[in-house]
């Protein structure tokens, strides 16, 4: 049973693999969506159509909130996100929610929702390897995805 590396490290690996350097606001948006994806209620959220649902809820959160903590609270309500279990992730979350230009991050989340979710998905797949079928064992799923 392996622990997942911190989200920041995971995204760095993926960006290096795809040879992309993101502007800071987009990087903050990708980090937030990655944290929401990592800490969601995994018993409920997963499987077919999950990534479309994630994008829809990220967008809905931007309609309902006008600040980054408000957006995170909306994600907590919509997808059961919570405090990340890794200390590094908790630091990343606190630092990103205090990002100095929240309007730019919210704009990115609202206008490039699909692109941000795609980056998170590619990062996760690069770490865990693309899986064709969802794992039937729920305990495995919790540790893996």
């Amino acid at each position: 049973m392996t622990r997942r590396p911190p989200v920041a490290e995971l995204l760095d690996t993926s960006a290096a693999e795809l040879e992309i350097t993101d502007p800071p606001a987009e990087r903050a948006a990708i980090t937030l969506v990655a944290l929401a994806h990592a800490t969601r209620d995994q018993a409920t959220w997963g499987g077919l159509g999950y990534w479309d649902q994630l994008a829809a809820r990220v967008l809905l959160g931007t309609y309902r909130a006008d600040s980054l903590p408000g957006w995170w609270e909306q994600m907590c309500r919509a997808m059961g996100c919570g405090q990340p279990s890794l200390a590094a992730d908790r630091q990343t979350l606190a630092a990103t929610l205090a990002y100095p230009d929240p309007r730019a991050v919210l704009d990115t989340l609202a206008t490039h929702t699909d692109a941000v979710c795609l980056r998170v998905r590619l990062a996760w797949e690069h770490h865990y390897g693309a899986r064709q079928t969802p794992d039937p064992d729920p305990t495995n799923q919790e540790t893996l995805l």
């Binding site: 795809l18 992309i20 699909d114 692109a115 795609l118």
Partner: protein, 225 residues
Amino acid sequence: MTHPVVHLWEAAGRPEPNWQGKARRPVTPPEPRDGVCALTGEPGPVWPLNKITTTLTTLDRFRHRDADPQGLALGPAAAWAIRHRAAMQHPHAIVDGTHRQVTPPELYQALEQAATCPDVMPTVPISRQKHVLPWARWGHVGVDDEWLPWDRTHLDRLGIYRALRRLGFGEAAIAEPTPRHQILARLDRADRIWVLTHWGDLNRWRHHPAYLEVAARATRQPKET
């Protein structure tokens, strides 16, 4: 400089207007009179507009509509362009100096030439219901309701479009703002990096979908047309 419609007509070999049209009985061509063409402004034999078509009613698009004292009339080039049904339905361009219908690979070559040479003037009907030829403009590409500017930057985007189609992205997938993960997952690492790098280069076209239609027509397999 000659009018672009006259240029197209001469490249087509100065044909008679297609007087027959969709009529089942043989049609006797109407008699011309001497006058000035309302579209091209050239003096010569002309026919009044209602002898040529009854569906083209936006008369203010004819630039020389007041030139002829005997009323609005069109010359042979304009009449040919208006009564050319095939050009309302299929892509046409000047290939090797001849104006004719083109297959998708020929249309791609014509678009390549059109970036540098203004008198190719490819036309790509989309709805198949609109007159495209009569409103020809030098150095532009004709689609339903407008003639699109076409230069080297558009040629670059056309190349990216073709490369994306060869990597497996369909016409609908390319029109979306983000690459589809399902297709992206099938590619190897270098192709994936290339797609993610160049996907945004087509954003200008995604805001103006007529360009995407032109590129789609030029990159289809010939059997699909």
